[in-house]
């Protein structure tokens, strides 16, 4: 459900959560991102943080600079202007991300989980394929890599993207691990709920995993060019497209990334138009699969 009026939910003495709806819907994220841009452009006194998530946004404010009531009023005013704007365009880079699907490292992490934690766990690619009515893991690869992903938020860990498929024919669903996995390789790509995410560092995890990229998304050493400004690669409202690579290419790219010589493929001239996007989606057969 998309709420007619967003819900303003205070979180303690200095945070406010704005909930735009209670479903995973790109339109809600466009609204949250557009509001975030308007807040950044106009500047609301006392607001130091605005972080959009899927269908909500989190605002931090200084209660000595602005009251909660005034903050709500300002946000509603900006929201009215962005909602009314039919020709809204959102800056959006397109990042081509090399990815090896059905890779041996994800398989290793799954094997470890099956051996140590849950012997009955169906292997992730087969499980996600079956759950979504796909023929097999190969079709899961076609469907999952058949779309650009919208970076709806960064969070949980620094630089970690939460992404949604822009092509509705590539929508997939996957429950999270229960209990979670104790180990996942850095660069692993997986799904939880309707979202796709990537692991910026080695660590525990709960997503169903079936691919891996050799390209870092978090690098404190800032070796590659796109990291020159910051240790994180991705920004909210970027788009990502996975490009299939072999194991040999994975190892070659991994080496180049370590040397700092890998040339990333990032396209920067486009803007994202929710209106054109809507018009395109309206022409699609939503039940079709690649």
């Amino acid at each position: 459900m998309i709420y007619d009026e967003p819900r303003f939910l205070p979180g303690g003495d200095r945070f406010l959560e704005i909930e735009f709806g209670n479903e995973l819907n790109l339109e809600l994220n466009f609204r949250a991102q557009a509001l975030g841009q308007a807040v950044a452009a106009e500047g609301i006194r006392g607001v130091t943080e605005f972080a959009s998530f899927f269908s909500a946004a989190l605002v931090h404010y200084d209660p000595d600079a602005i009251s909660l009531a005034d903050l709500e009023r300002e946000l509603r005013r900006l929201l009215d202007t962005v909602t009314a704007a039919d020709d809204l365009e959102i800056p959006s880079r397109l990042i081509y991300m090399p990815a090896m699907y059905l890779d041996p490292w994800s398989a290793e992490a799954i094997d470890q989980y099956i051996a140590r934690i849950n012997p009955n766990k169906e292997r992730d690619p087969d499980f996600v394929a079956r759950l979504n009515g796909l023929e097999d893991a190969r079709q899961l690869v076609r469907v999952h890599s058949g779309t650009e992903y919208w970076i709806a938020a960064l969070g949980f860990w620094p630089g970690t993207p939460f992404m949604m498929p822009l092509d509705p024919r590539c929508k997939l669903f996957a429950p999270k691990y229960n209990p979670p996995r104790t180990f996942t390789h850095k660069g692993t790509i997986g799904m939880g709920g309707g979202a796709t995410a990537m692991y910026p560092v080695d660590g525990p995890g709960g997503y169903q995993i079936f691919a891996r990229t050799p390209v870092p998304i978090w690098d404190m050493q800032q070796r590659l060019k796109p990291f020159k400004e910051a240790p994180y690669l991705l920004r909210p409202t970027d788009r990502m497209k996975y490009v299939h690579i072999t194991r040999e290419e994975f190892e070659m790219i991994e080496r180049k990334c370590e040397e700092g010589s890998y040339e990333m493929n990032i396209v920067e001239y486009q803007k994202f138009s929710p209106k054109s996007y809507r018009e395109w989606v309206a022409t699609l057969d939503l039940n079709a699969r690649f």
Binding site: F15, E17, E23, G155, F156, M220, A230
Partner: protein, 323 residues
């Protein structure tokens, strides 16, 4: 300059209010957990209240002064000694080059702050010197201090013999029972009335599985309203699951049935509800409590919580310092 002889248990450089403005990239604020004691430590040595100082957790470090300096200790009592002689807390003290400041375990409270005149001059990363050690950002090489390191100190001119008035100090409880302010929300309407009553009627135990990212609480199970069950599938299968959203600092995050208070190095988003939020005025209590201690939560309104934060801010001023 201060040389680290023994690092203590995860001692880190922090500044206040920490690294703000990068939440949308997933970077938390960090900063001192007991910001009340922290600010007073800086004021004692003539620094700005937010200047970079050390946060010592549970077991403090041993530090050798490489040149003369003025320092102050606030927060937990770690039985500090300067060249073997006990030194008082809440007071600025002169140290000579070559002297060693030795902190032991925390007898009362959990975190001691060591401010030094001039403040630490480690590199500023994203607008802050604070350490976010899980992410490897800030502090010294991104992590807690290590033996053998030399901590850079900016020039400063503090005076010894300045004291924090007794009435301006936070009072750390001796009986291990804390009353912690909370505000309802943002997701309080997912919990039913019985669940809310249970929350305020319970003495929650702070779990040993707690750190600067989250404080796990042990207590009874939660019960939910219709909203937690009757929802689209993308929220997830557990009643406490919600479409991934942002987490406020201080949120009581319900991971399954385990409430986790999200503190300074917090993960800023995920798929669990936050029925309550601990406001900033109660953070010093979180910072000074040890695993095994007990929390009872007291519900206050947003306005009351803001007023309490203002009272603490008023105490964190030079008016609280006497010669």
């Amino acid at each position: 300059m201060l040389e680290v002889l023994k690092p203590g248990l995860e001692t880190s450089i922090q500044d206040w209010p920490g690294r703000q403005g990068y939440l949308k990239f997933g970077i938390p604020w960090s900063g001192p957990m007991d910001d009340w004691s922290f600010r007073l430590a800086n004021l004692l040595v003539g620094n700005a209240p937010g200047a970079a100082a050390l946060e010592c957790q549970f077991i403090g470090p041993s530090l050798k002064f490489q040149r003369d300096g003025v320092f102050a200790l606030t927060g937990a009592d770690m039985q500090a000694k300067l060249d073997g002689r006990p030194v008082p807390a809440w007071e600025s003290i002169a140290a000579k080059a070559g002297q060693t400041l030795e902190l032991s375990f925390a007898k009362l409270g959990a975190r001691t702050y060591v401010a030094i005149a001039g403040g630490f001059a480690n590199e500023i990363v994203f607008g802050s010197r604070a350490t976010f050690h899980k992410g490897g950002i800030g502090g010294i090489e991104g992590h807690a201090i290590k033996a053998g390191q030399v901590l850079p100190v900016a020039p400063g001119s503090g005076a010894p013999g300045r004291r924090v008035k007794a009435a301006a100090r936070p009072s750390i409880v001796a009986d291990k029972r804390w009353s912690i302010e909370v505000c309802r929300g943002p997701n309080d309407d997912w919990i039913d009335e019985a669940g809310h009553r249970r929350f305020v009627d319970t003495e929650w135990k702070l779990s040993s599985k707690s750190d600067r990212g989250g404080y796990r609480l042990e207590g009874p199970d939660w019960s939910f309203t219709e909203r937690a069950y009757n929802k689209p599938p993308e929220h997830g299968s557990e009643p406490g699951n919600i479409v991934d959203h942002g987490y406020p600092l201080g949120a009581i995050n319900l991971a399954g049935q385990t409430p986790i208070i999200l503190v300074n190095d917090w993960p800023d988003g995920g798929g669990f509800i936050n029925p309550y939020t601990v406001p900033s005025c109660a953070f010093w209590k979180l910072g000074q409590s040890k695993p095994g201690e007990l929390y009872r939560f007291k519900v206050v309104t947003v306005e009351e919580a803001q007023a309490l934060a203002r009272e603490i801010a008023a105490l964190c001023s030079v008016a609280s310092i006497e010669q």
